[in-house]
Structure formats: C-alpha cells, structure tokens
Assembly symmetry: C2
Homo-oligomer: 355 residues x 2
C-alpha cells in the first residue's frame, strides 16, 4: 500500500529524485561506475557540486557577494560555527528563543561570549512567535530560527536590525520567497526540503567574515570552505548529489514562487479542517502557523485509539507529535503531494462521522 | 565496458553493496518508503546504526571499554576534535609526520597547544616511515597516520608509548588484524574500506575523555556522542547504512583475517611486477610498502603516452599519481578484486613487450 509520509525529517523527497538517486548508485551518468565510488575531484563530481551551488543561488535569487557551501554536521555544528565566526572576543549576540532548536543554538553560543535572549515564547510551550520585543543594538549579530518544526510556528516577519542577521532555516528554506539581502548568514540541514541527511547548506555574506579576532580551526572557519569552493575536504557526495536533484526538481516545477503557492494551498486544506472539525484543536497561534509543520491535538484524548486506527488504515505515517507538544504533527514539506494531505483530512472527517 | 576502479577514495565498493544500497533508496526493507525519507529515530534506522556499531566491535575485536561512533566531517574534523578532547590546557602532544594528512593534523593541533614533531620523513617526500626516533614522554598523546594514501607507505609496527596513542586509520582500517587495545583513539573517514563519503568512524576508549579542563562545544565533544549513542543530532543516514552493508559483506567474507590474507596476495601481485619489470620503479621503501595504495613511476617518462593508452584501453581508471609524487598510484582497497589487479599487471607487461 502507498504510504503518505508526514515525517518531520528526514522526510519525504520527490519520487523522481529517489529514482534518479538509485540509478546513480548503480551507474552514474552512464560512466559504468557508481556515484559513490568515484573521486570527489573527478570532473563528474565537481560538476554536481557546482550545479548544486548554482541552483541555490538561482532559486533563492541570492544577491552578489554571498557564498554557497555544502558542509557537514547539520544545524547542530552550525550553532557553534555561527558563534565562532561572528562573535567577537568578549563579544555579545542577541538570540530569539522560539523553540528547542533555538535553545540549543543559545547553549552553544554561550561558550563563546555573552548571549542576550531578547525574546522568548518558552513559557507558552513555544506556541507562538514573540511580537513585542526590543532588538538589542550592542551585539555582534542577531540569531533566529525561521520555522520551529516541533511546535509548528513560523516567522512571517523578521526582526529589523542594524546588526548582522543570522537565521537557522533548516525546516523552511526553499518553501517561500524571501529577500535574502536582509540576511547575513543562513544555514539549513538538508533533510527537510533539500535532500537526505548528511549535508548542511550555508549561505554567507563574504564581507562579514574574518572580523572576530579569533583563531578559528580550519574546518570550522567559513573562509576555509569559501576559498576551497566547498571542497576543502571530501564532501558528502551522495547527500550533495540528491540535493542537486531535488533543487532541479524544484526549478522544473517553477521554482520557489510556484512551490510557495502550492505550500500555502496545502497548509490551508489542513488548517481549515482543524478549525472546522470540533474533535481537533490547532496548537500554534493562528497568525504564526507554519506552512511546513502542522501541529494539532485531539479535543478529547479518548478518541486517540479510534483516530490512530483510521489514519493507520489509510497509509498515513509519521504524524505522531513531538513529546513536548503531544498530539499530532503533520509535516508537509515541498515534496508532499496535495493528495496525501487530503487522505489525512479524510481520516479526520471519518473520525467525526464515527464519533 | 567494465571499469577497473583504482581510485584513492572515494573508491571501489563491493558490487552487491551498491545493488542493495540502490534498492534501499527506492524501497527500504520492503516498508514502501525510501531509506532516506524515514526518521532517524524510527526503529528501522536505529537498527541500522546499532548493527553498524556492533559490526565494528565484532570485526575489529574491540576490547570492553571502547565506544564506536559514526560522526560527520571526515578526518579533517577529527584533527581538531582529537586535540580538543585530549590535549590539556597548556598541554603538549607528540606527532609523527609521515605525509600530507599528518601535516594537516599537526597544523590543527597547534591551535590547541604545543606540538612535538618527533619524527618526520618529509625530506624524502615521505617515501618511508621513520624508524629511529625517541617517543616523547611529556605529552598528552602521540598521534600517527597508519597508512599514507598519497605516498603508499604503511606502519608495520606502531610506536610504543606510555602516553595515549591516537591513530588516523582512514585508509587502512578493516584491512588487517590489529590489537586495538594498544590504541586509545582511532578515527577513519568511511570513504576507503568502509563506505561512501559522509561519515567518520571513531573508536575511543571511554576512560581517556573528560580530563583536559577544556569547555568543549557539544558537537565536538566525544562524550556528547557516546552518551547519545551516536545519535546526538541527525546522523548521515545513507553513508551509515552503506557502511553497515559493507561491514556485513566483510563479515560474510570471513572478516578481517580473511581480507588481510587477500590484501597481502593482491599487493604481492602488483609489487612483484613493479620489482620485476625494468620499465617501472616503486616509490615507497620496500619495508614500508602499503597493501592499500601502491605507488610507482615510469623509469623513463617517454613511455607515459604508450602506457596510458594501454591501461585506458583495458578499462583501468583512477591510477594517476598524486601531484606531489607523480607517476601512478593503484589503490587496492578491500573491495578491489584480484582480477582487476591482474588487468593492471597485464598492462604493465604489455608495455614491456611493446617497448
């Protein structure tokens, strides 16, 4: 039976991408060798890396002066690389605390200097994005998390600052059109909208680097990777290749403008049912609802067994909510088809009929 | 035409591993989902990670008290993690300089404390492993590189020390039987004998950690990863899975004892021809010759065009030597079949006949 894969990440990827990725494992581009057994310095792989980097620039409409890197270590390594590369010796940074991932970023930054947490929604289990706050001005940079996977909240407007703006976009990059000239450093683990786990996209404005007075280890210094065109050491070949395929798929679909429209339509179908169906409650505040992760709970937990039976029978998978929120979380990333969302909505409606 | 893939890394992997890896991309274990679109916290992937870690322990016959981790960032990130985790504040470490990768490890360690380079073969273009040296005793650890991919040299005996012994085994781990109780920390990028690029194997004796007095960022602290059973953040799912498949293949073949015998036979075939054929010279000193990377040059460079034509026509690929050594390098890792080595030997013999 076909599965409807609502996993939060690693998550659904386009079927045609999976097919091409499998082919490349057996015979890459007809060269009678596997993608994963050729040199990363071969012309074939250099072309993959350059195509992937070029697609990022094109799809996000990046201004001049930004570098695109495919690194390793996930957002978790970026938490410390951000601070290492941008926080001056005896410096200070401003962080917004909008969820568990923000909190982890804050923890790492504290190892490098002062951290001013100038806004937080922790006390309401991160069910919204703080609105009333004063952005500190005596900081080296401001850090935010654009989409909060666990809670289903998403920044619709970004803080205005004269400092550098750093954004963890792991779970909503490539999902909507943004003006990237307003950001100085953006990072994102691949495993949501871009590809499989194992590579991290970094977009950095070149001119902000090299100004902290710190002696940064080579592998943690963005300038190392910029200079080496993202090939300082052996890159994660397969994750980069699948990211390239996924970005090509997105381009063929009409790019970020087209997927943004689709994502809004998809999210609207599900939120409409949550608001209409008396058996369910949305978790995130309406004005901050994410188009990527839809969090909801049962109004009455006694219906859990019945509901779980219905969606399981329909082939839905991966909608169990995170333990800190409970209930359900439907992750509806770029590759999620509208039909799968309808299957979930049908399951919710069936519960209403049965009760 | 079938290719005979002598790439230095990423490199040849067993054909049956590639086939299974391709299948898992389309439908993993018959669950109707791809390996790369399921949660890393799913029972299916946790089993992959645990099987892979278990196979490492079993195949290497690791003693009690050692942890096995699959991390990211390659040996290049380990260069600094080694120093971060083991070099005390105001501490000192002893390094042997046996090639370009040793030199990179030394460079990173210098950011953390004093480095005593107590032996080096740099002046003879790293064509041998130093034998006469005094191991320093006033150090936090000793660091060596067991196999030097670029130059084709390999430690046959390891330095004796009362300090901790750290070894970069990126290019010969799983190729020969070793007594791992003599090592305190071993690391290896996957992309030689273990799997595709994108994961790094770390084997560490638990009791040596947490003793430096340093405040280590979470992602760079081995204790973080030990505590989280190698799942502190999203692991590189596909590289770990293919590593698991490759280790299973090795176990089915008879384990490290069986592959060691095969590797010795394979290397002997090629070195015998190098020594017998007057048109070729071996690069590395005989007593230090690697069973993984065989480096050789033409006695007369005028024969280059003729030789290149012969091996190209035979389907040989990836034997161009590293620019710092020149000539040729045949990397004959675990997955390289004897037949491919015979094809290369035949090409060398054909050149002798033609000249």
């Amino acid at each position: 039976m076909k599965k409807h894969n609502f996993s939060a990440g690693p998550c659904i990827l386009p079927q045609e991408v999976l097919k091409k990725a499998a082919e490349a494992i057996e015979n890459f581009n007809g060269i009678n060798l596997s993608l994963i057994e050729i040199s990363h310095r071969s012309k074939e792989f250099i072309e993959v890396m350059e195509t992937a980097r070029g697609l990022v620039k094109e799809l996000l409409n990046l201004p001049e002066g930004y570098s695109v890197l495919f690194l390793q270590g996930g957002a978790s390594l970026e938490f410390l690389m951000t601070a290492y590369n941008l926080m001056k010796v005896n410096g200070k940074a401003g962080y917004m605390d909008t969820g568990a991932w923000s909190a982890k970023a804050i923890k790492e930054a504290k190892g490098f200097g002062d951290v001013d947490i100038f806004a937080s929604s922790k006390e309401s289990v991160y069910n919204h994005i703080p609105k009333k706050y004063t952005v500190p001005t005596d900081v080296d940079y401001i850090h935010i998390t654009s989409n909060n996977t666990i809670y289903g909240t998403q920044f619709k407007e970004f803080p205005k600052t004269n400092s550098l703006l750093v954004c963890d976009m792991s779970s909503d990059i490539f999902s909507r059109q943004l003006d990237f000239s307003k950001f100085d450093l953006v990072y994102a683990g691949a495993q949501k909208n871009m590809g499989p786990a194992g590579t991290t996209l970094v977009i950095v404005k070149d001119e902000i680097l090299g100004k902290t007075g710190r002696n940064i280890p080579a592998m943690l210094d963005y300038q190392t990777h910029i200079k080496a065109e993202s090939m300082f050491n052996t890159p994660p070949v397969f994750p980069v290749y699948v990211s390239m395929l996924t970005l090509q798929w997105l381009k063929d679909l009409g790019g970020v403008a087209a997927i943004e429209k689709l994502n809004e339509e998809k999210a609207a179908i599900l939120y409409k049912e949550i608001d209409k169906n008396p058996l369910f409650n949305g978790f995130a505040k309406k004005e901050d609802r994410s188009t990527m992760n839809v969090t909801f709970t049962l109004a009455n937990d006694d219906h859990k067994e019945a509901f779980d039976k219905i969606w399981n029978a329909a082939g839905v998978s991966g909608i169990k909510g995170h333990r800190s929120v409970g209930g359900y979380r439907a992750s509806i990333y770029n590759a999620m088809p509208k039909e799968s969302i309808q299957v979930l909505v049908n399951a919710m409606q069936q519960l209403e009929k049965e009760i």
